[in-house]
């Protein structure tokens, strides 16, 4: 090729490319952590949105577990390659919220890019978790869940218990378990996921309306101090050690505890506490027995308990650094995502909470709860009472590290190295170092 021909070809090519981009749809990148069946459901939502209009294409991509996709996003941001939307777990909220220049808060995005967005449409306990002290919603609720109690009805019957009455208090959990053990209906009373963290400390504090930390559990500022070594936590952790020794409780590992689910599925443990989002998995795997549902237990002699439980799961965060036209698409997609139909379908398919009131009402109208008894336990539990300062959620940076500390300290209690009080005091001390470190890095 000689020179003029080559430049002509180049010009033609450039023209072709520019005209094709003019017609192309704006791409919205959405990074998420929903693997397996949940991932397929999520991709279907994106595909439906893409089919519903022709201006934007939402491209979902799986980036590993919650920790991984958060770290990937941060690395991408540092390299200037961040996606528009990313799904971040609730314990990442503090970190995301503090990253002021990196995040485009949802309330602002919705105001700037013209949607009639109404934060009041969302469940208060869900928005509470992701709203700053001025009442601005920072991220878009998507998949929120809360821990509930699952139980083996066959084991209850075999032990002479009423198969339709789950325990409401820890005293009953102990008594029912003992009865189950005595009748040899199961080898262990109960097992629970996130024993030291989400279930056994965070929700425990919320349900009994005691503070997890100062300054509204960290909502009021980075200088919050952890205070989860309160008598209620000490009481539960002491009981756990005692119950483990007597076979009432079985430990299934730190965090979500990989061994919890098999213990319940196999009939080894008669009760199981885990996220409401585990519902589909529990129903699919619990072979040979019927599953009952109940709320998380509280200590019966504590006035005002149960207050309300707090959520887990994840929300969608918008990252800064993209074109305005792209944010129009993000806003349109978020509006679509929070529509009652999409939310209700997602809620019913997965066991996650309906994040808007309208989706909850729609599910009621559709007769979903009547057809699936127990599927509304989670939403009833988080709506027991209007959330208080102690029960609206938690806001700490480096929260994953704080959770690791709690897991370690509970292990020390269960293997007899420490008393519950010593372990919780030490967890508070180590946790506060982490909180101070985060405060110093985000001043």
């Amino acid at each position: 090729m000689t020179y003029p021909i080559r430049s002509a070809a180049l010009a033609a090519l450039t023209l072709a490319l520019s005209t094709s981009t003019a017609f192309a749809q704006t791409e919205i990148n959405w990074w998420h952590s929903m693997g397996g069946e949940l991932g397929e459901r999520l991709e279907a939502i994106a595909a439906d949105f893409n089919a519903s209009q022709s201006d934007y294409v939402v491209v979902p991509s799986y980036r590993g577990e919650y920790e991984e996709s958060m770290v990937n996003t941060i690395a991408a941001f540092r390299a200037g390659e961040q996606p528009h939307l990313v799904q971040v777990y609730e314990v990442g909220t503090g970190t995301m919220m503090a990253a002021k220049g990196a995040v485009y808060p949802v309330y602002q995005l919705m105001a700037d890019h013209g949607s009639n967005f109404d934060p009041a449409a969302f469940l208060p306990v869900v928005t509470g978790y992701y709203t700053d002290t001025e009442g601005n919603m920072l991220s878009m609720p998507f998949n929120s869940s809360t821990p509930i109690l699952y139980y083996n009805k066959a084991a209850f019957e075999a032990a002479g218990l009423d198969a339709n009455t789950p325990p409401k208090t820890w005293e009953e959990v102990e008594q029912f378990s003992q009865q189950i053990l005595d009748a040899e209906a199961a080898q262990c009373g109960f097992t629970m996921a996130y024993t030291a963290t989400w279930t056994g400390t965070e929700n425990l504090s919320a349900l009994h309306n005691v503070a997890y930390g100062t300054l509204e559990n960290g909502f009021g500022g980075l200088s919050s101090e952890l205070t989860f070594n309160h008598p209620i936590a000490v009481r539960l952790w002491e009981k756990l050690a005692e119950w483990q020794a007597s076979g009432i409780y079985a430990y299934g590992g730190p965090a979500g505890g990989a061994d919890n689910a098999p213990k319940f599925y196999s009939g080894e443990c008669a009760m199981y506490m885990n996220s409401s989002a585990s519902r589909a998995g529990v129903l699919a795997n619990a072979e040979g027995f019927e599953v009952g549902f109940g709320m998380l237990p509280v200590f019966g002699d504590v006035a005002g308990a149960p207050q309300n439980s707090i959520i887990g799961g994840a929300t969608l965060w918008t990252l800064s650094g993209h074109e305005d036209a792209e944010y129009d698409g993000v806003a349109a997609f978020l509006t679509y995502l929070s529509s009652p139909e999409v939310q209700a379908a997602w809620h019913q398919a997965t066991g996650y909470l309906p994040v808007t009131l309208a989706a909850y009402e729609l599910s009621q109208e559709q007769g979903y709860y009547e057809a699936n008894p127990g599927s509304d336990i989670a939403i009833k539990q988080i709506n027991l009472n209007p959330p208080t300062e102690n029960s609206k959620g938690l806001r700490y940076g480096n929260m994953p590290q704080i959770r690791t500390v709690l897991d370690e300290e509970l292990q020390a209690v269960l293997n007899g190295q420490k008393t519950a009080q010593e372990a919780l005091d030490s967890a508070v001390e180590r946790g506060n170092q982490i909180v101070r470190e985060f405060e110093a890095a985000n001043q």
């Binding site: 002021k100 299934g252 982490i434």
Partner: protein
Amino acid sequence: MDTKRTVFPSKGLPYLLVAPQLAITLIFFIWPASQAVKSSFERQDPFGLSTQFVGLTHYLRLFQDPLYLTSIGRTALFAVAVTAISMGVALLLAVAVSRVIRTANAYTTMLVWPYAVAPVVAGMLFWFLFNSATGHLAYLLRYFGVVWNANLNGDHAMILVILAASWKQISYNFLFFLAGMQSVPQSLTEAAAIDGAGPLKRFWTIVFPLLSPTTFFLFIVNVNYVMFDTFGIIAATTNGGPNQATNVLVYKVYSDGFIGLNLGSSSAQSVVLMAFVILLTIVQFRYVERRVQY
């Protein structure tokens, strides 16, 4: 030692010849390492929006942290155990295979397989075998009266990661030992046999001393392996638990940096780890290598 010396006619040529190697070392080792050193003196938020210089704060805090100090001791135990087990078993297997005449190749192939397994997969494998709820070996142990629970018993967890890490490294050591043994001249062992030396005597007085360069090399490689490559195994089995019982230095670097997003402290830890390994390698070359016969 260095008796072979090549004399280059021009001064530039030798530099040109080592230039590619130097460039690779600079780009892939020195530069990232210097970045780690730099960020160990800084405090940065995860997104890199603000950075402050904090001097030696991270290091001072590390060495005042009793958990970090215990982690050093734990790492030493882990390193010694894995190196000893994986080298010992590999040597034993190499001796056994070198005595087999006809099917040696088949055995070699089979013994090398585990090396192709990724550390995380090896970890998962052992996690399944020793899982207190569903593992076959845990079940077997219960039959013999051992209540195996790596979820709560720190010693059990440590044994689990040591076994997984050693199993993974045995193949590599085996291959080198076998090759080393095959290079021992047969005339030597035959002569010893004629003189009336039994197999054990022949091994310890002839074969093993001649294997010393291989052993020395493997020793350094294994220590490096334990220090840097085992985090996948720990991530897949115990996550450093229970109550930090298996939280070795390299896993702590990963969990503080990757999960905790505390880049400054994580960098400081990796610098310390790097210093440890450099120091260890120097000691090995200065004091252990003297006993090696080339």
